[in-house]
C-alpha cells in the first residue's frame, strides 16, 4: 500500500487525530496565554520578579518532554491530564518572556503621560501598556504554538490524544507494511497544522494590532 492509498483508507482516523491534536494545542495555548500574560503582568515591574518568572519558566523547558510526561503519569494518570499539564507548562516560557520584555519596553514617557492625564493603574495596563506590548506577546504565542505542535505528539506516549498516536504506532511496528506511512502521515499532519495555525496568527495580528504601531 502506498502513502496515498493509506491516506485514502485511514482518512477517518487521521482526521479525528488531527482534530484532537489541533484542539489540544489550541486549548492549552489559551490556558498558557492567560497564565503567561498574568505572570508577566504581575512580575514585570520588579526586577527580580521578572527574572524569577523567566528563569523558572525556562527551567521547565530544559526538562526533556518525554521524561516530564513519563514522570507525570504516576501523579496524574494517563490520557488528557498529563497532556494538558505538559503543553501548558512548555507553552508558558515564550509568552511570559515576551510579555515581560514587551511591557518593560513601553516608552516610560507614555506611561508617565497616561498617569498624567488621569488613567488609573488598571486602565493604564489595559488601554496603554498591554496594547503596546501586544505585538511581542503575539510573537511569543506564535513561537509557543509551533513548539507545542511538536511536543503534543509526545503526549501519545501517555495515551494522550492527537497525531502522536500515528507516529508512535508506526515507530512501534517498524518493518511492517504501514509503519512508514503511519509515521509520515502523523508528521506531515503536524507540519500542516503548524502552518495553518501560523497563518491564523498572521490574520489575528492584522486584526488586533493597531495600525498605528504595525511594523
Amino acid at each position: 500500500m502506498n502513502f496515498w492509498e493509506y491516506l485514502g483508507t485511514r482518512h477517518q482516523q487521521l482526521l479525528t487525530d488531527t482534530y484532537q491534536h489541533a484542539s489540544a494545542v489550541f486549548q492549552c495555548m489559551v490556558i498558557a496565554t492567560v497564565l503567561g500574560v498574568l505572570i508577566g503582568v504581575v512580575s514585570y515591574r520588579s526586577g527580580w520578579g521578572g527574572s524569577l518568572a523567566i528563569t523558572s519558566t525556562s527551567a521547565v523547558l530544559t526538562i526533556p518532554s518525554l521524561a516530564a510526561i513519563g514522570l507525570l503519569i504516576p501523579l496524574v494518570g494517563l490520557g488528557v491530564p498529563p497532556t494538558v499539564i505538559i503543553l501548558t507548562l512548555y507553552g508558558l516560557l515564550p509568552i511570559v518572556r515576551n510579555c515581560i520584555v514587551g511591557l518593560r519596553g513601553v516608552d516610560p514617557s507614555l506611561v508617565d503621560a497616561a498617569k498624567g492625564i488621569g488613567m488609573s493603574r488598571t486602565r493604564r495596563l489595559f488601554k496603554v501598556e498591554l496594547p503596546l506590548a501586544w505585538p511581542p506577546i503575539l510573537t511569543g504565542i506564535r513561537v509557543s504554538t509551533q513548539m507545542l505542535m511538536g511536543i503534543a505528539a509526545i503526549a501519545a506516549y501517555a495515551s494522550g490524544p492527537g497525531l502522536g498516536n500515528e507516529i508512535f504506532r508506526g515507530l512501534a511496528s517498524l518493518g511492517s507494511a504501514n509503519a512508514i506511512n503511519q509515521v509520515l502521515a502523523g508528521t506531515i499532519g503536524i507540519v500542516i497544522l503548524a502552518l495553518l495555525f501560523d497563518a491564523a496568527y498572521v490574520l489575528l495580528g492584522r486584526l488586533t494590532i493597531s495600525r498605528g504601531i504595525r511594523a
Binding site: S109, L110, D112, A114, G118, M119, G212
Partner: protein
C-alpha cells in the same frame, strides 16, 4: 469628587470654557531616600487664576519635579498644594489629574490610538456623552489649528513633530481643565516649528485664560510665553519670581542675570508685539489696477514707493518710482517681491529681523488670512524700543525704591519683634 464651579463632568460639554484656577504651593519639598539633600526644598509659590507662569532654570534644578508635584505624579514629601483654595495634597491623584491638563515633551501621544481617540481619552474617562466627546474632539482639533476631517483618523506616527505637539495640547485641554501643566512641551521640535507652536499657545491662552504652569530651560521661551517667570536655582529655590520685564531690567542677583544671558535689551524686543506699536498706513495698488493709474500714482510725487497687493489683498511687490521705467513698463518685471511679512501678533524681535533683512527698511503687517494691514518701519521700531527701555528703567527704579522701603520696614519690624521671622 468635590467639583469646582462648572465641572466638566456633565454630559454636555460646558461652554464657555472653564478659565483658570489659582494654585498655591506651600513649602513643597521632595526628598528621595538615600540622598541627603532634598531634590526640591520648600518651594512656595502663588499662581493667579488665568496666569501663565514659567518655571525656568538650569537642568537638574528640580523644575520638572516641582511641576510633577502639582498633579502628584511625584508625591511631595512635605508641604501642601491648593488649587482654587481646595487642598488637593491628599485627594485621589487619579481624580485630581483629570482636572489638570498635562502636556509633555515628545507629545506623549499613544501611538496605537488615532488622533481622535487620543483627544477623546480624558472626556471619556470623566463620563462625557458619546456625542459630546465627538463634538469636543472636532472642536479641539479646530482650536489647535488642525483640520478635523483630515487629522481625525490619523495615527501619531503619520504626523509631523509639530502636529503631534498640537494634538498633545488638544488632548491636555480636551476635558476643559482649569489648569494646564506643560513640561518642556516644545523641547523636541525644530526652532521654526517651536516658534509657531509658541505663537499658537499665546493665541490659545488669549482665548481660554487657563492657568498654565510651563517648564523650560530656554529663557527666551520663558520671556515670550510667561506672564511671570520663576527663575529657579538648584533644589528649586526661587531666585526671582517676577514679570519678564522686571527680570530683564532688574535681575535680583548674579545667578539670574547670568541666566538671562547677554543682550537683555534685545530680548526686551520679544516682549512687545507689533500690534502695540504704531502700524503705519502705506499707499497701495492692486495687480488689477490699470498700468496707467499706477504710473500716475507714482508720478504724482506724493509717494516714492507703492505696495502692490495681489488679488486676495496680500502684499506682493514693492514698487519704486524708477522701477516701472527700468522695466520698460512691464509690471511683471518691475519692483521687488515681498519676501517677509509679519502678523500683528509677531514680536518686535521678529519685526526688526524682517526690517533689517529688507533693503527698504520696512515690513508689511498682515492679518489672519495674510491680507495687508499696514507697515512698520525702522523709525517706528527704534522709537518704541527707546520708549520701552525708558519705561522699564523707570519701573525698575520704582521697584528698587519699593524694595528698599520694604526692607527698611522689615528690619524695623524685626528689631521690634526680636527677629521672630528667622
Amino acid at each position: 469628587m468635590p467639583e469646582t464651579a462648572a465641572g466638566p463632568t456633565e454630559s454636555a460639554p460646558p461652554r464657555p470654557a472653564t478659565s483658570g484656577a489659582t494654585i498655591q504651593l506651600e513649602d513643597l519639598s521632595k526628598s528621595y531616600p538615600g540622598s541627603p539633600a532634598p531634590a526640591v526644598d520648600e518651594v512656595s509659590m502663588d499662581i493667579k487664576a488665568g496666569e501663565t507662569v514659567i518655571l525656568v532654570g538650569p537642568s537638574g534644578c528640580g523644575k520638572s519635579t516641582t511641576l510633577k508635584m502639582i498633579n502628584r505624579l511625584i508625591e511631595p514629601t512635605s508641604g501642601r498644594i491648593r488649587i482654587n483654595d481646595e487642598d488637593v495634597t491628599d485627594m485621589d491623584p487619579v481624580k485630581l489629574r483629570r482636572k489638570i491638563g498635562y502636556a509633555i515633551q515628545s507629545s506623549g501621544l499613544f501611538p496605537h490610538m488615532t488622533v481622535a481617540e487620543n483627544i477623546a481619552l480624558v472626556p471619556k474617562m470623566t463620563g462625557w456623552s458619546k456625542s459630546g466627546v465627538k463634538d469636543r474632539v472636532e472642536e479641539m482639533l479646530d482650536l489647535v489649528g488642525l483640520d478635523p476631517r483630515e487629522f481625525h483618523g490619523r495615527y501619531p506616527r503619520q504626523l509631523s513633530g509639530g502636529q503631534q505637539q498640537r494634538v498633545g495640547v488638544a488632548r491636555a485641554l480636551a476635558a476643559d481643565p482649569p489648569v494646564l501643566l506643560m513640561d518642556e512641551p516644545f523641547g523636541a521640535v525644530d526652532p521654526i516649528t517651536r516658534d509657531h507652536l509658541q505663537d499658537e499657545l499665546i493665541r490659545l491662552q488669549h482665548e481660554l485664560h487657563k492657568t498654565i504652569v510651563f517648564v523650560t530651560h530656554d529663557f527666551d521661551e520663558a520671556i515670550k510665553l510667561g506672564d511671570r517667570i520663576a527663575v529657579l536655582r538648584e533644589r528649586s529655590h526661587i531666585a526671582q519670581f517676577d514679570t519678564p520685564e522686571a527680570i530683564l531690567t532688574n535681575p535680583t542677583d548674579d545667578f539670574v542675570s547670568g541666566f538671562v544671558g547677554a543682550g537683555a535689551a534685545l530680548k526686551r524686543l520679544n516682549l512687545t508685539r507689533v500690534r502695540d506699536v504704531g502700524i503705519a498706513d502705506f499707499p497701495t495698488v492692486t495687480v488689477e489696477d490699470p498700468l496707467q493709474s499706477i504710473f500716475n500714482k507714482l508720478r504724482d510725487g506724493q509717494h516714492n514707493e507703492l505696495l502692490m497687493l495681489d488679488r486676495r489683498n496680500r502684499p506682493y511687490k514693492w514698487l519704486r518710482r524708477g522701477d516701472l521705467m527700468r522695466a520698460k513698463g512691464s509690471l511683471a518685471r518691475a519692483g521687488q517681491l515681498v519676501h517677509d511679512t509679519v502678523t500683528r501678533d509677531a514680536t518686535l524681535h521678529d519685526a526688526l529681523e524682517a526690517v533689517l533683512t529688507d533693503s527698504g527698511g520696512r515690513v508689511a503687517v498682515t492679518g489672519r488670512r495674510g491680507e495687508f494691514i499696514g507697515v512698520v518701519d525702522m523709525h517706528t521700531l527704534m522709537n518704541s524700543v527707546q520708549e520701552l527701555l525708558e519705561a522699564d528703567r523707570l519701573a525698575a527704579m520704582e521697584h528698587e525704591h519699593d524694595l528698599e522701603h520694604l526692607r527698611a520696614h522689615r528690619t524695623e519690624h524685626e528689631l521690634e519683634g526680636g527677629g521672630s521671622g528667622l
